[in-house]
């Protein structure tokens, strides 16, 4: 009997995985809705404390505050020097140091 049921088992597996994915998507939408209060609270926090950056990488000034760092500090010493911190591998150089036009602006 099993020999003739294989396609049913396969379709069942694919359908259950698809249903699970749909359920996770619905869960996502519900979570976003539920946690919108949290986002509003974070916005108030950013506004009141005048925050500009995330508190994720705290090992160096330019990883703690990438948006406030000196123009050359993503690479600490000079624009093409090798980055020392692992976080630098995650952080891409800011757009404004990539183009000469922007550098001239400051």
């Amino acid at each position: 009997m099993f020999n003739k049921m294989k396609y049913k088992i396969f379709i069942g597996l694919i359908l259950s995985e698809t249903l699970l994915i749909l359920a996770l998507y619905v869960f996502s939408q519900m979570s976003i809705e539920r946690r919108s209060i949290e986002i509003t609270a974070k916005k108030i926090l950013v506004r009141e404390l005048m925050l500009t950056d995330l508190s994720i990488w705290t090992e160096a000034r330019y990883t703690r505050h990438p948006s406030q760092a000196d123009l050359f500090t993503p690479f600490q010493d000079f624009p093409s020097s090798v980055e020392h911190f692992p976080a630098g591998s995650i952080i891409a150089p800011p757009e404004n140091i990539k183009t000469w036009k922007s550098i001239k602006r400051y």
Partner: protein, 385 residues
């Protein structure tokens, strides 16, 4: 319809005959897809959340630049900035970094002289008197302190200052406040030995968002030793920062992805003698070329769909239920204080479908094409190899 069912049934039997080989491909394929989706889910979710909350950041931050480096800014610059048309409130920001030798962690200290109320993500209250502080969850954990506890900081003269903890930021806000210590403005001036007529930088409110670049260029004109940072630039920095193409995680998995592509290509394009023989026999017993192609199509679909769906589920669980725990060592870097990720499950449907099409279609195509070549050849020739 019955015919398609029979072909699918035959496909599954054929795959089960080489079950270990196909199971290995499905496992590796699933892990590769899970890694790719994990990167996409993580960066998209972080980016979306960050860009939403940073819309509330100050419109303009004015830094003083001295010798090419960020320097303390004289507070009397505020009067010059206030003269610019379209400028609203101007608030000096007092902040800096504190290296804590006890924990080897870096804290970010912020000083305020205004009473801040209505923060929902704060347990307790904000400091309203000198020698009081509100701390982030990360600081609270590494210093084993909490509300009504104490925290010791050493000032620029080497004197120990004791602060009474009156508030701890909730862990939900850790992505913004994990390393923060909020104290009174006069305390921060004392702690860092800053002159009272200097601030770290100045936050400038601009009434009309469209006028921010104009105000920034005007500030640059009247105060040439300053660097105005616009809100748009802060947001762009973070957009670039979480760009999924950048980063070591993607590069790391790119190698694995390429290895898998070679494996899949090799497996799919190079038909084994056994598979060629099977096609030959099927043709000899009366299968049409179209039937053989359908068989191979189903083979590709079974492997790629099972892997994609499994990988997608694994990635979702990894990022949104397990807090990206496998990526944490890479993301964490050398930080002593690292916030736990409680990501809001923002999922970009476009990205989901892009990966789906970029993996399923090439895999199915690379399964069908060599089989088509074998299927149009004379069965006798194919069976003889």
């Amino acid at each position: 319809m019955e015919k398609h069912k029979k072909i699918l049934e035959y496909t599954l039997s054929s795959l089960l005959r080489r079950k270990y080989k196909n199971l290995a491909i499905i496992t590796v394929f699933s892990f590769i897809v899970a890694a790719l989706y994990s990167i996409l889910f993580l960066t998209h979710s972080l980016k979306k959340e960050v860009l939403t909350v940073l819309k509330e950041a100050p419109e303009l931050i004015v830094q003083k630049v001295s010798g090419g480096r960020h320097d303390l800014i004289p507070t009397d610059y505020m009067k010059r900035i206030q003269e610019i048309y379209g400028v609203g409130r101007i608030i000096p920001r007092y902040w800096g970094y504190y290296y804590d030798a006890i924990t080897d962690g870096n804290y970010t200290l912020i000083g305020f002289d205004k009473d801040i109320q209505g923060l929902k993500l704060l347990n307790g209250r904000m400091p309203s008197n000198r020698k009081e502080c509100a701390i982030g969850k990360g600081v609270s954990d590494v210093r084993f302190t909490g509300i009504d506890g104490e925290i010791f900081l050493i000032d620029s003269k080497g004197k120990v200052l004791t602060f009474h903890v009156v508030g701890v930021f909730a862990s939900e806000s850790a992505i913004l406040t994990n390393d923060l210590i909020v104290i009174n403005k006069d305390d921060i001036l004392e702690l860092f030995g800053m002159p009272s007529d200097r601030a770290t930088d100045i936050a400038v409110e601009v009434y009309n968002e469209l006028e921010i670049p104009f105000v920034a260029s005007k500030i640059r004109e009247i105060l040439p030793d300053t660097r105005p940072i616009m809100k748009g630039e802060i947001i762009r920095t973070y957009e670039t920062l979480f760009n999924w193409r950048s980063g070591v995680i993607f590069t790391m998995f790119l190698g694995a992805l390429l290895a898998f592509c070679i494996l899949a290509w090799d497996k799919a394009t190079g038909l084994s003698a056994e598979e060629r023989q099977e096609i030959g026999i099927l043709k000899a017993i009366g299968w049409e070329t179209g039937d053989v192609l359908e068989l191979k199509f189903w083979e590709g679909i079974v492997i790629s769909f099972t892997s994609i769906l499994t990988g997608m589920i694994m990635a979702y669980i990894h990022i949104f239920f397990l807090g990206a725990s496998l990526f944490a060592p890479v993301l964490k870097g050398w930080s002593v204080l690292f916030p736990p990720f409680r990501l809001i499950p923002y999922v970009d449907i476009y990205q989901v479908f892009v990966v789906l099409f970029l993996t399923v279609i090439p895999y199915v195509a690379s399964t069908i094409i060599p089989s088509w070549k074998a299927a149009i050849t004379d069965p006798d020739t194919v069976m003889r190899g």
